[in-house]
Symmetry: C2
Subunit: 96 residues, 2 copies
């Protein structure tokens, strides 16, 4: 019934991260944090899960000697997100 | 973005429990366990969260001297489930 919902993406904070990155292409740590109202530790933990699953990619670069970290969806993440949305649509059809 | 998704119901196993109880009216522990492929401990923990939030009700009765426990959705749970489904539909519209 809900088995087909990818549990990595279904978790609410991670769904928020994936949705934001899908919409905006890429985002920095602070922007994600503000947008999702998460603590540093919480956001970090969810980003790690998404990176471990290769759904998002992290880039570190230096802008005027200051480090800047940005995150974006990988191709694998884009596919997984699409499949998750399909599963969610099927679930909604089944309950309505 | 995903803030409006009720976190008590959104969790995948609890969403499965709520959906099954919405569809079937009531269900016993073993039927829920089989249907959702959860361990006893895991199912118990999720049922407790749903009971604490007063989304489901537990009934214990004796059938031929054997205890039987059944669970069903409360009125509060029915309303919360409906709101959750509405939020999910809005979320899906926003990403598609």
């Amino acid at each position: 019934m809900t088995d087909s919902l990818n549990r990595v993406i279904h978790e609410r904070a991670r769904l928020g991260i994936m949705t934001k990155l899908m919409a905006e292409g890429e985002s920095g740590f602070t922007a994600l944090k503000k947008s999702l109202s998460l603590s540093d530790g919480n956001l970090n933990a969810h980003l790690k899960v998404l990176m471990k699953n290769e759904y998002i990619l992290m880039r570190k670069e230096f802008v005027a000697d200051k480090p800047r970290t940005t995150y974006r969806i990988s191709e694998k993440g884009r596919l997984a997100f699409g499949e998750y949305i399909d599963s969610l649509e099927k679930f909604l059809k089944s309950v309505s």
